[in-house]
Each structure stands twice: as C-alpha cells, then as structure tokens.
Symmetry: C2
Subunit: 427 residues, 2 copies
C-alpha cells in the first residue's frame, strides 16, 4: 500500500534559504516517515510569498498523494500559507470558535489577553480536521481532496514534533498511508570506510538481489540500511540477511538501530557494572558531552577533566612534568598518563583520554595538525592509539571523539571475558 | 544589479529526504550567497532519478537566472545529473582529456589506478567552464545559456565548499551577479525574546521605513539583520542605524557579526589578561566545548571539570559533603561551590559552573526538570543565578550553556572597571 504513495514536503521560511537555519524539519519528517515505510520523494523550500506559494503548491499537489507543509501559520501578516493554499485548492476556510476558545485559554493561563491578530489562526478547512497544538497557538490543519491528503504544520520545532508524533502519525495510519511492517533495518558500523563495508557485504548482495542496501557515512560511522527492493522480501527475510551482514562486519558492527558510540560503550560498562572517567585536551569536552547526552549516564560515567593547559594536566591528572618536557602534551605517552590519571583521580575503573592538534594552529613535523593520540586505561591493560585526520577543527574534534569511543568499544568486546573476571575478582 | 537576479538551488540526494542527513549544503550556499547580497529564492531536494531531474530542472531553469545543483556527479551509475541536465537543456557534453589527466594524476598520487567508471566524470559542457576539484575527482561544471548561469557542484562537503569559495564566487563576481556592497549587517543579541527585541527596535523602524529588519532566534540568542528594503539606503546609512540599534539593545547587545557567546567572553578575558576554568554537571562538557571551539582558546581557557557524580564534585572541586547533604547537587549553593572550586583547583582567575536537571529523569518539587543553577566566581565577587527551561535534554543543555555564557559576558562588562583594577592590583 505505502509503496505507491507519493509524498512531498514544503518548508516555508526565508531563514532556511539564507543560511540562518538548517532545515531540521525536513530531516525530522523524512526520517520519521522513512521509519514508517513512507519515503519522501521531493521537498522544496520557498519564501512566504503568495505567488511562490501558489506555484509550489500546485506543482506539489498535482503529483503527490500526501503534501506536508511546515511554517507560515503564525499570527503576523507575513504568514499567508493557510489562506493562499486554500485559495489555490479552491477550498473554503471557516472560522472555528473552538480554536479561538483554546487560544484564549492558552493566553489566559499565561496571564495575557489574546491579541486580535491571533484571530487569523482560528480558521480551518471546511470539513477538515484540526490538530490541536499542545505547545503553541497555531493548530495544524488537515484537508482531504480527491483521495489526497494535505497537512499544514506549525513552524516552531517544539510545536511541530509532538503534533506530528501524536496527531499526524495516527491519522496517516488510519488513512492507510503506513504499512504495518518496519520499512528498513539499520545496522551501524564503525572502523571501515563506505567502500570497504560495501565490499564486505557484496556476497550477501550477490546472493539476494532483492535486498536493497543503502549507505550513509558520518564522521567515521557507516550506517547501512537493509530493505526489500521490490517489496517481495518479507521483514523476516530482511532481518535474517541483516544478521548475516552483521557476521560479515565482524568487530566493526556497532548495533542495529542508531545508538551512539557512547551508548555502545555505556552498555558494555553497565553489563560489567564498572565506571569510566575521561580526560580531554583538544576535544575540549566533546567526549564527556557524548556520554552525558545519554539519559541515566551517571550510572557508569562519573565525569571528565578538560585539561587545556599543561598546568591542568599536571595538577589535575598527575601527568609528570618530566613526561611533558620529554614527549610533549601531544604524544602517546601523555595520552596514557592522562587516561590512567583520570581513572585514578576520579576513582573510575576505566579511563579514556584524547590529546592532539585539532587545528588550525599547532602541530609539528612529528605530529602534524590532525594528529590525535588516544589513551585507554582498563583493568586488563593500558594502551594508546594514534590516528590522523584532515579537515577543519570541528570535524577533527568529532572524528577524534568517535575514534576514541569506537576503540574503547572494541577493547571492551575483545577482552570481555578478562574484563568480566577482573571485575569480579575481589577488589 | 544583484537585486533582480533570481537564484534556485537543487540538492540531489535520497539521504536528505529520508532523515539521514541535514541539508547543510543549502544552509552553507544560502548563507554565503546572502552575505554577498544574493538571496536564494527557492530550493528543492530531489532524488537522483531521470524523470525527477528533468522536471525539477525545467521548473527551476524557467524562472531563475542562476541555478546551482549539488551532488549527483559521482562515478556510479546512480549519478545521472550531468547527462540528464545536459539533455534537458539540449546542451552538448564533450569528453575533456584534461579532466581525465587530472583524475589519473590524483589517483596516481594516492597509489591507485583510475577505474573506468571515472571516465563519466571527464565530460563537460561544450563551451562550458570546468571548476577544478582540489579535494576529489568530480570537477564542477558551469554552463551559460540565454543569459542564465548553471553551476553543478559535487556532493561531498569538503569538495563543495572550497570549490564554491575559490571558483564559484569569483565567477559570480565576474558575471555581475554580486553587488559590491555588503548585503546586510548582523547584530547578535542575547537576553531578550524576539518580540521584546522587536519592540525595542520599533522607534528605529518607525523613523526609517526603508530599513529592513529580520530576526532569527536560536537557543536564547536573537540575531537581527539590517538591510535596505528597497536598495535606497546606503551601506553607511544601514551601519549608522545598526549602531543606533545597538544603543537601544543596551547590555543585551553581544556583537556585530556572528561571534559565539564563548568568543565574546573570551575577548573580554583576553583584554583583562585573565583565565577561566569551568565546572559542569548536567551540561556535561558542552560549556568547555564552546570555549575550545575557538582557535587559540588556551590563551584564556585553562580547562574544565565535568563532575557527573557527587564524589567527583567533592574530590575534584572541593564541594563540601555537608553542603551536598543540606542543599543537594542541584542548588545555587552547589553551583557557587563548584565555580569557586574550579577556579581554585585549576588556578584560574574566573570560575563558571552549571548544575541542574536536563531531563528527562531527575527533578523534584523545588527544582523541576529544566532547572539550571549557574555559579560565577570572579575577582570582584561570587554570584549565582537560576534559570528554568522546557524542552528535551539536548535543548536544555544548549540553553543552559548559552545562559551561563551570556551571564558571564554581562558580568564582565558590568564590572569592567573594577575587574580591570582588580586585575592590575599587585597579586
């Protein structure tokens, strides 16, 4: 059913066209719909001008079964979407006193009077559906015409997302837009480049041509999505194939789904009931941040030390001054001292550290810009690893954090038995 | 000249439509062009299918003076853009041996042979321009037809951006697409909501209707862009008005341009020749990260401590156990102890701290989820501040970091004279 439905998204907003803001609405809606088996075929971003709206809307409506718009429902005179689209469709808008009531209530609760310009938000399509806005004034609007569906959503993210999740998805389900099967199965890998992953999975692809394999690379992570090219492969078959793919990926497999590398590490630590502290120089807090983005991280992540100067490395992590004098702060030796130091100082079982030159300044012949040393302190051993990246400062920081997390993940899995024994030895 | 030029961007790539990746190309190109006075009027994102490409391209070409495409120039059979657009234009592609040579050279330098499928990348528009790709194989292509300009750019970010900066901008300049005046002047503010900023600037708007004022809000920051609505206001007049706007914003003014709040703090610290250490609980490294995103941050930023557990707060920051028992870790008292503790432990002149409940778990009656306490330790005094946010964990973290940075910025400016005197007193 869902394979034949054609979906288009129209985002209104100058700020998306002049570099002020990323179009996160498209990423969110496209991602959520894809999970539900509905692929967005095309999207367009236009300014909030009458002529543009009419033209874009006609083009979209003529070739799509479902059109979702975002933005343009605010109370100001700039926000013409509702009226202009109704006009383009030849559909009638009617004033809905229940919308007015709910906006008045909202303002009253905040201690304000509702201004007159909010009355423009009280119109809905005649015979259309109103999607209540739990977090703002403008309701979402739905209109059906000739078997097609139009959904207008408000622009603010915190209004759009709950409305989409709680109102639009059930509506699409009820209208038969969504299949009951998961659309694809995602495998996350780290450690191999896209073409190397593709090469590993080639035998699988050769065996089953109906298997569609799509790749996406981000900062050292390669996500692989498995689905049925023609719709003939069942979800079970896709799952079996995905598990064969997992075998082929060996230790480069991270997870099914989209858990972060920090979550993968956190899970292993939780299983061992052990704790981690981190020490960072050039990544300046980004490694800590990756852990603290996980709700409940404090069960295994105790904290971190950002040692941006040598003094802090010495005083807070116990890195010997002589080591710094001999090897420098950007060295495998310093990375190891940082990892062991942070584990000891924060009383953690594991220590993970990063030191390097993120650029644009710094670097020398031995350690050019982009050189990153990672230190790892664990109950079964202490190691360091060196990686090198090109790219800008923020890119290098993100890659360095991913490399450190992936390396720790590998070590935790590799030494699982030893770690388990060491963890359960009497302290 | 540039006001009348109409620009459209076409991004090719399924991954932009199914939630795998944000459309950073549009944000980048839109932003860079806007700085140069050329506004993108519309953009569309489509899949790499022949029929889609033809339709989208015809629609775009018929109504725009400049069309820029991204992606679809790779060597695989999926990448049809070049051929399909040439067909749609009725333009001829010719094989260019100099492109082949440069691709062969690139591969040779990496120690590889060039595969045959790369030959598809060696075609250019007859009488068209080739934009050399310094970071990859596919060159950019330019085609002129009936006074219109078509620019095809490769998809990978690290190839697209230098090519745009070094090849496309000079080309647009030469072709008269860019005006010689800056397009707008941006003022960054923090501390007031969008409507409050608008209200403050109303007198200015009333005095000069030709002044166009546009707003963009992100996590507590409100950016204001001033430009000439009709083109009649000179750049000098816009600048004078922007400086009047600055006066109206009082201490909520952060900077002209787009320096980050951390940069604003860093500048003040540099002027005083003083140092800062930070301590964070719920923001888990994001505050440190904000500073270390600034090249050369180590001149004033010494480091940070992420104290995700009470033990770390006690051991690393010297927060008294009795204080934690009495007030809890999420309290103004703890924030102050953290700020003073980190300044002392890291031997920094200033300490800035954040503790709170970022959610979704945690929180109590007194400190519900979203409650953030900020501590500030300075040579002229020690204070705390409490803020509350709604939203998801990552939103709350970002807002908390911005609130802490903005508050420090204000304090540094408010006590400038005292700080200066204190800093220059004998130690």
């Amino acid at each position: 059913m869902s394979e034949t439905k054609s979906v288009e998204i129209i985002n209104f907003g100058d700020e998306l066209l002049v570099g002020i803001r990323d179009n996160a609405h498209l990423t969110y809606l496209g991602g959520e719909l894809a999970k539900l088996g509905l692929s967005v075929q095309r999207a367009r971003i236009i300014t909030d001008e009458r002529e543009e709206i009419v033209r874009a809307f006609h083009e979209a409506w003529s070739r799509s079964d479902l059109v979702i718009t975002t933005g343009g429902l605010g109370p100001t005179s700039d926000d013409l979407t509702r009226e202009t689209i109704a006009e383009a469709l030849g559909a009638e808008l009617v004033f809905d006193p229940t919308i007015e009531q709910s906006i008045r209530k909202r303002f009253a609760a905040l201690g304000y009077e509702m201004a007159d310009h909010h009355l423009s938000q009280c119109y809905r399509f005649k015979d259309g559906i109103v999607l209540k806005n739990a977090r703002g004034t403008a309701p979402g609007l739905v209109h059906r015409q000739k078997g097609k569906l139009l959904v207008l959503l408000p622009g603010p993210t915190q209004e759009l997302r709950p409305m989409f999740e709680h109102k639009v998805i059930p509506l699409l389900q009820a209208e038969g837009y969504l299949s009951s099967q998961p659309a694809y199965l995602q495998m996350r890998t780290c450690g191999l480049g896209e073409s190397a992953v593709e090469e590993r999975l080639q035998p699988l692809q050769n065996r089953q041509e109906d298997l569609q394999i799509a790749y996406c690379v981000h900062y050292g992570i390669v996500d692989v999505r498995f689905s049925s090219r023609s719709g003939h492969l069942s979800a079970d078959s896709v799952e079996i194939l995905a598990h064969q793919a997992r075998e082929l990926m060996e230790e480069n497999f991270v997870c099914f789904g989209d858990c972060s590398l920090a979550e993968a590490v956190q899970r292993e630590l939780r299983a061992l009931d052990r704790t981690l502290g981190v020490a960072e120089s050039c990544t300046g807090g980004l490694l800590s941040d990756a852990f603290t983005n996980i709700p409940g991280a404090s069960k295994s992540f105790v904290g971190g030390i950002v040692c941006y100067t040598n003094d802090v490395k010495v005083a807070q992590l116990g890195v010997p001054e002589s080591l710094l004098a001999q090897h420098g702060a950007v060295s495998a030796e310093c990375a190891i001292a940082m990892a062991s130091g942070v584990a000891e100082r924060l009383s953690a079982d594991y220590g993970l550290s990063i030191t390097g030159f993120a650029g644009p300044g710094g670097g020398d012949q031995e350690n050019p810009v982009g050189t990153i040393h990672i230190g790892y302190h664990s109950p079964v051993g202490i190691w360091s690893q060196t990686v090198r990246y090109t790219g800008g400062r923020l890119d290098v920081k993100t890659r360095a954090v991913n490399a450190a997390l992936d390396w720790m993940r590998r070590n935790l899995r590799k030494y699982k038995v030893e770690e388990f024994l060491s963890c359960n030895a009497p302290d």
